[in-house]
Amino acid sequence: MDQDAIRKKNIRTRKRLLRGAGFWAGTIVILLFFTAPLIWLVSTSFKNYIDAFAMPPKLIFKPTLENYITVFGKANFFNNMVNSIISAVVPTVLGILVGVPCSYAIAMLMDKKGAKNLSFFFLSARIAPPIMTLLPLYIIYSKIGLLGSRWGIIIMYTLMCIPIVVWLMPVYFRDIPNELREAALVDGCSEFRTFTSIILPLVRPAIAATAIYCVIITWNEFLIALILSNKTSQTLPVMVTSFMTFQGTQWGPMTAAGSIIMIPMLIFGFVIQKSFARGLASGSVKG
């Protein structure tokens, strides 16, 4: 009797251990699949030409900085980086300035049909492929001399940022208890004052997360920059493709440039992932 109980208990623990091992094995496979490309990118950027394509991949190698030196040595690299920073920051600021008040109004009006139509209006900006807007803009820009200018890109990126803000922000405004707002109004604050000095400070973290998301999206953008920029206004993602030449791809410098471009965005992504999952999931279409 007693022995039987012990045996049963043993079987149960063994089963549990086995399931634990299975879980961790599965988790490691998942992790490897999603992170291997990044690991390859960063490690290859420190390899010399011979190590880079050794098969099986060399896990231990003598790191070299030559790829980074090649990238930094490119005449237009820093110019491209400045372009990337400006083309990400300016549209983000504009998008926040215009989009946040709009999100607040949408959140307050949400029960009404008009607000729903509004949300759909902003969503529709995401339906049309960028090329749909790019073709007519290409002609307009070439007529008014904006083609190849940084401003041309900034305008298009602002068009990307506003819908993102209006899509992510309303849920955070809806979270604020109505009593808080009403108390401020009773105290004699105007609607505008209530918004700027009571409501806005409460959603500051959400605004920060949304802004960071806009920066990531615009920093990573490729097609618009490819078409509208020229040598002096081109951004980093366009510059990376210049390592694909007719003689083949220069993998060393390419991976170094790729790492430089991506690392800051990964840090940003890491910072915001928790706070903005909610905004993403809520989405304005649900209304």
Partner: protein
């Protein structure tokens, strides 16, 4: 009354900006679709062409093929992303040490620059020096030229899309699973639900709105996929991976037939909007 006015003032700047930079080009695009505009031959002069561009579209084999390619890519990528995304989220939905870190690592791809992701996978798929080809050869002793064959290339771009965007589904679904009320889960446990029953009949139904939402957003983005396809295959080999979006780009910015390219993307936009609004009506009814 006063309240309404201030809201209007809050909304207007956003609307005006959007109208100027979206609606005006859109209306201009409609105008362009009725014209022949070729930047190479006539320096961008407009010639009225009636509905010629639309007629061309429906007789252009390459255009019709691009529609089929878009649909193939959409169905392949979306199904796999949703299935894997939900499966992985449910799999990781338990308490274990390091959960936060692991989740953060899994969603890394969605923040990676798509062009660079495309280049990385192009290197992985390289028939001679790529890791994927190497592993494939190790297991099957056969040479793999993923991006060099018609069906392989389609799978190649689907794999990259699912690698980059399954994390998006995971992020949404996991956040939603986290916010499920403890009591419901506990109650189901007390009732004696097995783990599988719990997933099938409690967890998944409860996060269904998030799943639908994620699928809709993924569908929209997958239809617009460009960067990875551009650096990996440029629509090739032949036109095996030439989606509508890619074809519109080629016609517009490689052949410089702006009129026809605009027509392609216009048809694309209309079809997708109609599909989406149908879908929205149906999901709202749920």
């Amino acid at each position: 009354m006063k309240k309404k006015k201030i809201y209007r003032a809050f909304i207007l700047p956003a609307i005006i900006t959007m109208v100027i930079i979206m609606i005006i080009p859109f209306l201009f695009a409609i105008y362009i679709t009725f014209h022949d505009v070729n930047l190479l031959e006539s320096g961008g002069a407009f010639f009225f062409a009636g509905i010629k561009n639309f007629k061309t579209f429906f007789t252009d084999k390459r255009a019709l093929n691009s529609v089929a390619t878009s649909v193939k890519f959409l169905v392949g990528a979306l199904t796999l992303e949703m299935f894997l995304g939900v499966a992985i989220s449910v799999f990781l939905d338990r308490k274990f040490p390091g959960k936060g870190i692991i989740r953060a690592l899994v969603i890394i791809p969605m923040f990676m620059t798509p062009v660079v992701s495309g280049l990385i996978w192009r290197a992985f798929f390289d028939p001679n020096a790529g890791i994927v080809s190497y592993l494939f050869k190790l297991i099957t002793h056969r040479q793999l030229d993923m991006l060099g064959t018609m069906s392989g290339a389609m799978w190649g771009i689907i794999i990259v899309d699912l690698w980059q965007w399954t994390p998006f589904v995971i992020l949404l679904v996991m956040a939603s699973l986290d916010s499920l009320p403890e009591e419901t889960i506990e109650a189901a446990k007390v009732e004696g639900a097995s783990e599988w029953q719990m997933i099938r009949h409690v967890k998944i139904p409860m996060v269904k709105p998030t799943i639908i939402m994620a699928a809709m957003l993924r569908a929209l983005e997958a239809l617009k996929a460009f960067d990875t396809i551009y650096v990996m295959t440029k629509g090739g080999p032949g036109s095996a991976t030439e989606t509508m979006n890619m074809y519109a780009y080629t016609v517009g910015f490689e052949f410089y037939r702006i009129g026809y390219a605009t027509t392609i993307s216009f048809i694309f936009t209309i079809v997708v909007s109609l599909g989406l609004s149908k879908l929205l009506q149906r999901t709202n009814a749920l």
